[in-house]
Amino acid sequence: MQGMTLIVKQVTKLVTGFIFLFAFYLILFGHLSPGGGFVGGVALACGFILLVLSYGKEHINNLIRDRNMVVWDCIGALAFLFIALAGYFGGIFFENIWVDHGKNYNLLSGGTIPLANIAIGIKVGACLAGVFVALIVFHRDLDSAKGEE
């Protein structure tokens, strides 16, 4: 896969930033407006996939080395679990220990909810992009194996 035409590449250049920005907005403001970690993570993955598809995988080869994404996947998952465990050590599993009453409608309201959103965002983005990359790598190896024959 060599990437797509120049037009696509230019448009991607313009659009990708906005996609990532939107994804970050969805993640960070998930507790105030529609969105949330999961949606933001999928949007992140979509932006990444757009890059991969339009530029071709050769340009981002260092990203798609053997299952690198799984590291971020695990880090996100562990972060979410540690938020739960923080509540556990502070009292009860999943207790929202940092909730700050009286700061409603503020970005910092919600206690652990924004943090959990960020953790889930990292996790979901990394794992969905990662599995797409893994599928591409699988196809590439398949094609190169065919070429050698």
Binding site: G36, L128, F138
Partner: protein
């Protein structure tokens, strides 16, 4: 007089039935995956319909909203939370299934399940 108030529920079940039909009767792996996706649509639609309140508003509160009025007019947030979970589970299933489909295609060179019959069943 025909009571159509529960017709949306039946619609959701029709979508669900289409999905079941696809899974049971179609002989192509991609179509089976699509069938699972359609089943998920049906279930999600059914769940969200159970939580709808007539002329309800989205369960998101803004500072200028009267709390009493909000409580009495917001739609049910619980099924929405359930459906987010269910959509995610569906996405995970699709990921796993497409990986399996790609792998099966590599082994057999086809998506046709009538040709993929090593196991007797």
């Amino acid at each position: 007089m025909f009571d159509y108030s529960f017709l949306p529920y039946v619609m959701a079940l029709v979508i669900f039935a289409i999905g079941i039909y696809t899974v049971v009767c179609k002989k192509n792996i991609i179509k089976i995956i699509v069938g699972i996706v359609i089943i998920d649509y049906g279930v999600n639609l059914f769940l969200i319909l159970t939580g709808y309140r007539s002329d309800g508003i989205a369960p998101i509160r803004t500072p200028d909203m009267n709390p009493e009025k909000f409580i009495n007019s917001s739609v049910d947030p619980v099924p929405q939370a359930l459906i987010v979970t269910s959509i995610v589970i569906g996405l995970g299933l699709v990921a796993l299934m497409s990986a399996l489909a790609v792998r099966l295609h590599e082994k057999y060179g086809t998506f046709d399940t009538t040709k993929i019959r090593k196991l007797k069943g």
